[in-house]
């Protein structure tokens, strides 16, 4: 296998510029937009972890609920045991991974559309548990009073310190997710996506790799849930419902999911777009629907394909092709 050397001078320079921009950005924003930047940073981890699940070709509708599992775990540990964020975050990811591991047995017996519906049903079952067991999970009102930590005199309830903390944690997670995708495991996941029977014929246990992607993806989105609840202060079942899941899907589809950075572009562009149409609150669902339809019609490979298209228009390189949807 040819390994590309990513540590070129050009890449290092670009990475340094990007890092400087990320570090400087909050200082040019008002308080309100600093908050938005934190949620955006966390949502980057949400879409990238979702992409790991989709690498095997399976699209689930449980990812938002898994984020909720992480958020509820962190909240319960903080409220009942007084654990700080430093300790609740690993448990948040771990709880989501554990639930995912248990759900693998029924869910991964299904594929494609059936998996999609099955994952939605499982997610709703978890969400209804939060609503029905009022004494434990607070019902529809959820859990509240979760606080950001104070460390060495830095109060992480303020947006700039929390942004830097989120940026660091999310960057580490993205690095791990990137390494997974570009490892032998990642290549196997791709192989299962495009040619599952062929992969199985050479001894790849497709079920095990699908389970691995589902569990690891859930771990990272659970961690994102923990990260979010410690800043937001509370969690409720409505936050983590199908509404948020649809947003995740739109971010990934509009951004594109064939490249690692596709969903990141999607979440950034649509978050900025979303904020710009905030005044038209009642029209937002319609506007989002229109964006999704236009994107599927005219940019089926997502925003990530725009540079390739531009290059082909200018006669440099070929037009990006859409890979086949199934291996059949």
């Amino acid at each position: 296998m040819n390994k590309k050397n990513i540590l070129t001078v050009q890449n290092v320079v670009w990475a340094a510029i990007l890092l400087a921009a990320l570090l400087a950005t909050p200082h040019f924003l008002k308080f309100y937009h600093q908050d938005l930047l934190i949620y955006l940073t966390i949502n980057v981890l949400v879409v990238c972890s979702y992409r790991l699940v989709t690498l095997t070709g399976e699209w689930s509708l449980i990812h938002a609920v898994m984020m909720g599992v992480g958020a509820y775990t962190a909240s319960l540990l903080f409220i009942h045991f007084g654990l700080d964020m430093w300790f609740t975050l690993p448990f948040a990811g771990g709880a989501a991974a554990l639930i995912a591991a248990l759900l693998c047995f029924p869910l991964l017996r299904m594929t494609q559309f059936y998996f999609l519906i099955g994952s939605f049903a499982a997610g709703e079952a978890i969400r209804l548990t939060w609503i029905e067991f009022v004494g434990v999970f607070g019902g529809t009102g959820g859990l509240r009073g979760v606080e950001a930590p104070i460390l060495w005199g830095i109060d992480f309830i303020d947006p700039i310190p929390y942004y830097y903390l989120s940026l660091f944690i999310v960057s580490v997670c993205l690095f791990i997710l990137y390494r997974i995708e570009n490892s032998r495991v990642g290549l196997t996941l791709h192989a299962i996506h495009w040619k599952a029977p062929l992969a199985e014929s050479v001894g790849v246990n497709a079920w095990r790799y699908r389970a691995l992607a589902f569990i690891v993806g859930s771990f990272f989105v659970g961690l994102a849930g923990g990260l979010k609840v410690h800043y937001l202060g509370s969690v409720s079942p409505n936050q983590m419902g199908i509404g948020f899941m649809v947003f995740i899907l739109i971010w990934v589809i509009v951004g594109g999911y064939n490249k690692f950075y596709g969903p990141i572009i999607g979440v950034i562009v649509l978050t900025v777009f979303d904020e710009s149409i905030r005044t038209f609150e009642v029209l937002r669902p319609a506007i989002y629907g229109a964006v999704l339809i236009l994107s599927v019609l005219f940019l089926p490979l997502g925003l990530e394909s725009i540079p390739g298209r531009l290059r082909s228009w200018f006669g440099v390189g070929s037009t990006p092709h859409e890979p086949p949807l199934t291996d059949q």
């Binding site: 908050d35 067991f133 009022v134 004494g135 959820g142 509240r144 009073g145 609150e281």
Partner: protein
């Protein structure tokens, strides 16, 4: 002719757009200082009827105050400006809107509806010492130092309606409760009605807690009516109109009691005046003659009602006067403190052991339930529809009921898994 909740949402979308810009409603006099008050409320979505009318009500009150030259606080004269933010009952947006109001608009108090949105903002609000009001008493926790409920004490006041019903209709022996199964509104209210019915000697024969996904209320009403209740109780239901329609179509002849009966003229239009007459609830129209009696701490309620309905003829709801009442309480607190700073105003408000509650003198309460005496309870009106119009029958003491029966209420709160921290 009234409008439905959904029509309300649709019709007021334009209003929300204008309101969300937070434009001041008048040009202030030169040299006059301005104090900003925040309203972080739902102005769109399903909860809009419990947000936007409150903003309209506050604009009526603020316009009156500013037209009269503002308010004198300490040595300074202030005009009041309302800064609003539509969070659509989304906790993420509620937090963002709250922080924006405080950090960018320097608001001195933030008024909110309550529930999960208040729970989300309070850790930050308490650390930053920002005075916040809620309409849900159950939002109070031992940690929420800067959260107060000075106008509505949901759902405690519901006990007065049951007490009045039992006294005036002694033939009533059984009741059935129907409400949505959310912990913030439905369950709190169901527990309160259960306690009130027990105290009144009325047996609860059925409790139907349904989800928010119900679209057909016929089977719910049928199953409840099969128990033959003398009283049909809608405990803070989001679905009063369809429930009332079903009761009408299924020929229910018993008594009906509800926490709210928003847009009751629409219910009359869909059923009949005769059917709705006699329905007991808790929220008066402000053109009610009994609001002109001595002891009511709301200036010119009839005038307020007329101005509100002139500008927003179809938008009156239970909250139309509650946010303004909170604003008026804050003004009294600021005057007493001689300062607009949240810590000073809160101190002044708390130091008054018998604060002026909207329907008369009140007292601070809540420690034995939620860990802090941050709810003002006093007397509350019992309202009955008569000849198609809501009319106050009498005022009854919430405070007195709690003194005698708080343990019964606590029992039912716990039975629903609701938080009792005191």
């Amino acid at each position: 002719m009234g409008i439905s909740r959904r029509d309300f949402v649709r019709n007021t979308a334009a209003g929300a757009l204008i309101a969300s810009t937070g434009l001041p409603s008048r040009v202030f006099a030169a040299g006059q200082k301005t104090v900003k008050i925040g309203m972080n409320i739902p102005m769109t979505g399903d909860y809009a009827p419990w947000g936007l009318p409150g903003l309209y009500g506050c604009q009526v009150v603020v316009d009156d105050i500013n037209a009269a030259g503002g308010v004198n606080i300490g040595d300074q004269n202030y005009a009041i400006e309302i800064v609003s933010y539509d969070h659509g009952y989304d906790i993420e947006k509620a937090v963002q809107g709250y922080k924006q109001m405080v950090s960018e608009s320097d608001v001195k108090m933030v008024m909110m509806l309550g529930g999960s949105t208040v729970g989300a903002v309070m850790p930050w609000a308490d650390r930053k010492k920002i005075l916040t009001t809620t309409l849900l008493a159950s939002d109070i926790t031992p940690d929420t130092e800067y959260l107060i409920a000075t106008s509505e004490s949901h759902p405690l006041y519901n006990v007065t309606g049951v007490e009045w019903l039992a006294q005036h209709h002694p033939e009533v022996k059984t009741a059935a409760i129907v409400t949505n199964n959310d912990a913030e509104y439905g369950l709190q209210s169901a527990a309160t009605y259960q306690a009130a019915f027990e105290v009144a000697g009325i047996e609860v024969v059925d409790i139907n807690l349904h989800g928010f996904d119900v679209t057909d209320f016929a089977p719910i009403v049928s199953s409840v009516l099969a128990k033959n209740p003398d009283v049909f109780c809608m405990a803070t239901s989001f679905y009063c109109t369809p429930l009332m329609e079903q009761l009408y179509h299924q020929g229910y002849k018993g008594k009906i009691i509800s926490c709210t009966l928003d847009y009751y003229d629409e219910i009359i239009a869909k059923t009949s005046k005769e059917f709705v007459n006699g329905t007991i609830f808790q929220f008066p129209d402000f053109d009610d003659p009994k609001l002109n009696e001595k002891g009511i701490n709301f200036p010119n309620p009839g005038d307020f009602d007329a101005k509100f309905r002139k500008d927003h003829p179809n938008d009156w709801s239970a909250v139309a006067w509650e946010y303004p009442a909170n604003l008026l309480n804050w003004i009294e607190g600021a005057k007493a403190a001689g300062s607009v700073e949240p810590t000073e105003v809160l101190k002044a408000l708390r130091s008054n052991k018998n604060p002026e509650f909207v329907f008369g003198e009140g007292r601070w309460w809540g420690k034995e339930f939620w860990g802090r005496d941050s709810v003002v309870v006093g007397r509350w009106p019992v309202v009955v529809v008569q000849d198609g119009k809501a009319r106050i029958q009498e005022y009854r003491s919430v405070s007195g009921w709690l003194d005698k029966h708080a343990a019964v209420l606590a029992k039912y709160m716990k039975s629903h898994g609701l938080r009792i921290t005191g």
